[in-house]
Subunit: 138 residues, 2 copies
DNA sequence: TATATATCCTATAAAAAAGATAGGAATTAT
DNA sequence: ATAATTCCTATCTTTTTTATAGGATATATA
């Protein structure tokens, strides 16, 4: 399951996408509208920023806006920024690789091979732009 | 990421699949060979049994064996038995449905629509028999 | 029938992760 | 100068995960 952090982050991204104003939007406003604990959201926005998903403007009248076009943002990007690896086991993660403590030989590990296939296909799904997924249906 | 419990469970399933003996295999033997804490494994086996993935024989010379043909067992089944929902958010889970506390209208919720599509495709991948995934390559 | 080897069951402890909050420093528009 | 805001570090709380403990129940076999 997705963490609350990642869910809040996606809500935030969608909210910013819906409000492509000239002015940035404050964390306070997002927290209120999306019912996210304010201080928690601050942490989330910091992570989103460090992963280049949002940009910020400091000071009074400051706030946040998307750092790139929504068509360039995927669920996978948000999940990685918030929760880490997409892969179900660490030894086949591309960005968060870690060997399994007990593993004797990755080359022949069947669990690894099993989940390598799964990861490839899951990434394919999660890498699609949120715009192509979140769009309204007629 | 997969929980250790689910990972141990998959190791156990693969182990049982590799040893289709006439005699059942004891938890002790599995724990030793697969480096799984014995008492933890007991809990796992109980869950696997209650989900009809393994069967057991009690008493001396007792133990465990797969409850069905490996071709009928998927990663999804094991994940559901150990960790619960496959879906990334509870409101689109088929077997573990829960409404989101704050959600005002599921019909129009974009997050929900977003992850409904993702779930459909993820389930498709994870429902495939482990035999088709875990098989050796030439 | 006694014994050893198992599964089965409930409960609890320990460790780790997730979720949330606190307090204040730095920045900037008005 | 002030108010609104991002930014940063630290800590607390709650929940989940991982693991262990102790014993009840079943059964093959010597």
């Amino acid at each position: 399951m997705l963490s609350k952090k990642a869910k809040y982050a996606i809500k935030t991204i969608l909210f910013l996408q819906d409000h492509p104003d000239l002015l940035p939007i404050s964390a306070k406003a997002i927290a209120e509208k999306e019912h996210i604990p304010y201080k928690f959201l601050e942490n989330i926005l910091r992570d989103l920023k460090s992963h280049q998903l949002v940009k910020s403007i400091r000071g009074a009248e400051g706030g946040y806006a998307l750092a790139k076009d929504p068509s360039q943002i995927s669920i996978a990007q948000v999940m990685r920024a918030m929760d880490g690896p997409i892969a179900l086991i660490p030894c086949i993660s591309e960005r968060f690789y870690e060997s399994c403590a007990e593993c004797e030989d990755e080359e022949t590990c069947r669990i690894r091979r099993l989940f390598a296939e799964v990861r490839t296909e899951m990434v394919e799904i999660l890498e699609r732009p949120i715009t192509t997924l979140a769009k309204e249906r007629e």
